[in-house]
Symmetry: C2
Subunit: 236 residues, 2 copies
Amino acid sequence: MRGKLYLIPNTLGGETLSNILPQEVIDTSTKIRFFAVEELRSARRLLRKMDREFPIDSSTFIELNKRTEKPSLYFLIQQLKKGIDVGIISEAGCPGIADPGAVLVAMAHEEGIEVSPLVGPSSILLALIGSGFSGQKFTFHGYLPKERKDRIKSLKDFEADSRRHGHTHIFMDTPFRNMNVLDDLLNELADPTELCIASNLTLLDQRIRTMSVKNWRENAYDLAKIPAMFLIGKSE
Amino acid sequence: MRGKLYLIPNTLGGETLSNILPQEVIDTSTKIRFFAVEELRSARRLLRKMDREFPIDSSTFIELNKRTEKPSLYFLIQQLKKGIDVGIISEAGCPGIADPGAVLVAMAHEEGIEVSPLVGPSSILLALIGSGFSGQKFTFHGYLPKERKDRIKSLKDFEADSRRHGHTHIFMDTPFRNMNVLDDLLNELADPTELCIASNLTLLDQRIRTMSVKNWRENAYDLAKIPAMFLIGKSE
């Protein structure tokens, strides 16, 4: 029997697990001793939250980030081939989305190893369903272009497509650039365009608001340095 | 104080909740007595699974499906304005994606009512992270066109875009048409194109496989009448 590669969801920054992880996800994850992790500290913190007695020191953590070369992951593939389960833990949310976890998943598929994604919080999904926009067709674009000119072109493309086809467009930026994104949205988009901003998802001060750009101009609030998802779409 | 509109995730067809729902999601949901539901039977079944003693008979269920007119939802908005919480339950998975739940969410936003999406299973998200394809940029297309000619055009567009830009394309069809979709994929796409099929997600016989179209031709399996997600993408 071969091991399974489990995709373990991390918190979105909150302190409690009971609102974001099913009990079986916790039970499965704390039985694993070999991990690929995006960031060591947040992975250990998650495991300690799952189980205060989790044996961090006798477990193996391989860092999996932009700088990781494939060969350093072969060790984990070898464990899987020997029948040992391996977990991937992202810095926040579900592994494999906007982080480098997908590399190891692809290697597992090449070797015919079973991949098991566990249920947990995804800011993309929570923002989408919380927005009231169409979930029939949507695109996640990841991070916006850094150049202001390119960023504005993207936003205008999303707006046009959403108006014409009702397609929902989801995007984000690094938290310290949120206010620039908001400025661009409010300055460049048309009055009636509908915009949703979902910030601090799953946290106590979670906020999900969908309004026209016109209304946002009068009711914008501070998004500096907090995690936020932006959505342009059409209410159903 | 106004009520909150909770988006309550349903199972993807499985019998147990401990692998798909956090305990707090169960606790929050079973305190609610007013619901908008896509399908009565599956909503009641979920609530009884959450709590065997759930007072179905003294709770209110408003059907929310393609035939629902907005006025019949005003009753629920009134409850929210009075300070009473309301839940939306889809037939399967998260409300608001490929179902009509988004209408009520949009109405709530118009009234400035707080919307709270709860964490649970989403086949789109589980399939995406389980595929090993890029999660940096992806599109969910919903159901494929029914006309074979249009369907094949869509599939070829996904293939071309994914080869050129590494964008992941996710789509589905009604389970009884799965084998036709699979035929089209294997007949019309190029040998090296990577295809993931994720079926029976979160169930005991869950299967997630990513292979080239060439390999799929030799290793296809029966997908008739089981829920499946299809993905065309590029392994990282």
